[in-house]
């Protein structure tokens, strides 16, 4: 029983820690905005 409680507490702590890191990165992160345009488009050949 005691072992089970320890496991649950550990899991909750890990999730909270991960959520804290994720939130910090989300708010403070400076990774920039990924490209919203671009990619492949049909090639416009000049007239013959």
């Amino acid at each position: 029983m005691l072992w089970g409680m320890k496991l649950i507490r550990g899991a909750i702590s890990a999730i909270l820690l991960a959520a804290t890191f994720a939130a910090a990165l989300r708010v403070r992160g400076t990774g920039g905005t990924p490209p919203q345009h671009g990619g492949w488009r049909p090639l416009e050949l000049p007239e013959r």
Partner: protein, 330 residues
């Protein structure tokens, strides 16, 4: 009446036969077996070789008989032998197009088209994904076991095929694939055409099983036809103002369709009298590259360019852009 000799009736040959009428309406197509006597092809306006195995034997017979030849060969030794038939073709006053498939072939045309937009071209990098019929799949298998040629800082290099992993982004729906150096003919042909270019490489997509079994016989028979293939040609250089520019063009289409369209476009150019006698290689500056690409589009191949991040003006849409298109993971 235009008479076309088609040697080979595999996946690519079949597609060539269906597309000849688009550029040469009313032409007559005579199909030959490469193992048979090609003597009856004498008198044809042009012969298109689309059979597996070496094509140099068929080419020699046809050129000697005075028949212009368009070859879809992609084996390095075969293409090298075809290039050496330049004198023979010249003596017999016929045209010979070596490497008129997807790669070499379409890749050379795209490279020339992009190079014409640059003031100076420093690097050409080609990546290929997919196979056409079983003969093409076998060639793909062999290419991963040989020695990949390339040009690095102006010097010819040879590296083991299967090395040099690079994540290459092809047009959709193909997307990103890990590509590796392979024994492909494009660097050899492009190196002779783009003499000012310092770096040329060619890669093909492969998975772990392909690389692991490359030096073994094929463990399972190839599919009748591979799925959607793709090709990607990237040129790096400078524009007139000296700015670094990267241009990328590509195609996502069945490999046999690309190869057939390229071969048919060259055959039509021969019939029109647009090609000189002797050897012609896709990417030659004397060719009407834009005209050939227009013909290839008419044959159902959609050419695409990578635009990267937004750029305001054409004709340099991909300038500074495609850094996200290709991530070296070597």
């Amino acid at each position: 009446m235009v008479r076309i000799a088609l040697v080979g009736a595999g996946v690519t040959g079949d597609r060539i036969a269906k597309r000849l009428d688009v550029l040469m309406p009313g032409c007559t197509v005579v199909v030959f077996d490469a193992r048979g006597d090609l003597g009856e092809a004498a008198g044809c306006d042009v012969a298109i070789l689309a059979h597996g195995g070496r094509q140099v034997g068929s080419t020699t017979k046809l050129v000697t008989a005075g028949v212009p030849v368009v070859s879809t060969a992609d084996n390095v030794d075969d293409v090298r032998s075809l290039v050496e038939l330049d004198d023979l073709a010249g003596r017999h006053d016929v045209q010979l197009v070596a490497g008129a498939g997807m790669s070499p072939g379409l890749t050379g045309l795209l490279a020339r088209y992009l190079a014409d937009q640059l003031e100076r071209c420093d690097e050409i990098h080609i990546a290929v994904h997919g196979t056409a019929g079983p003969a093409c799949a076998r060639q793909h298998h062999r290419a991963l076991a040989g020695h990949a040629m390339g040009l690095h800082d102006g010097e010819q290099i040879s590296r083991p095929a299967g090395s040099g992993r690079e994540l290459c982004w092809f047009p959709e729906p193909v997307g990103a694939y890990d590509c590796y150096r392979a024994e492909l003919a494009s660097p050899m042909l492009l190196g002779a055409l783009f003499t000012d270019v310092g770096r040329i490489s060619a890669r093909m997509s492969a998975n772990r099983r392909d690389r692991l079994t490359a030096r073994l016989p094929m463990l399972s028979p190839p599919h009748r036809e591979g799925g959607v293939g793709a090709v990607r040609v990237e040129l790096r250089g400078a524009d007139a103002a000296g700015r670094r520019v990267t241009l990328i063009a590509g195609v996502a289409e069945l490999v046999a369709t690309c190869a057939a369209a390229t071969a048919v476009a060259f055959a039509a150019a021969i019939v029109r009298g647009d090609l000189p006698t002797g050897l012609t290689v896709a990417g030659d500056s004397s060719l009407d590259t834009v005209g050939l690409l227009h013909d290839i589009e008419r044959l159902g191949v959609r050419l695409q360019e990578f635009t990267g991040i937004p750029h305001p003006a054409h004709p340099a849409p991909a300038a500074h852009a495609p850094t996200t298109a290709n991530k070296d993971t070597t």
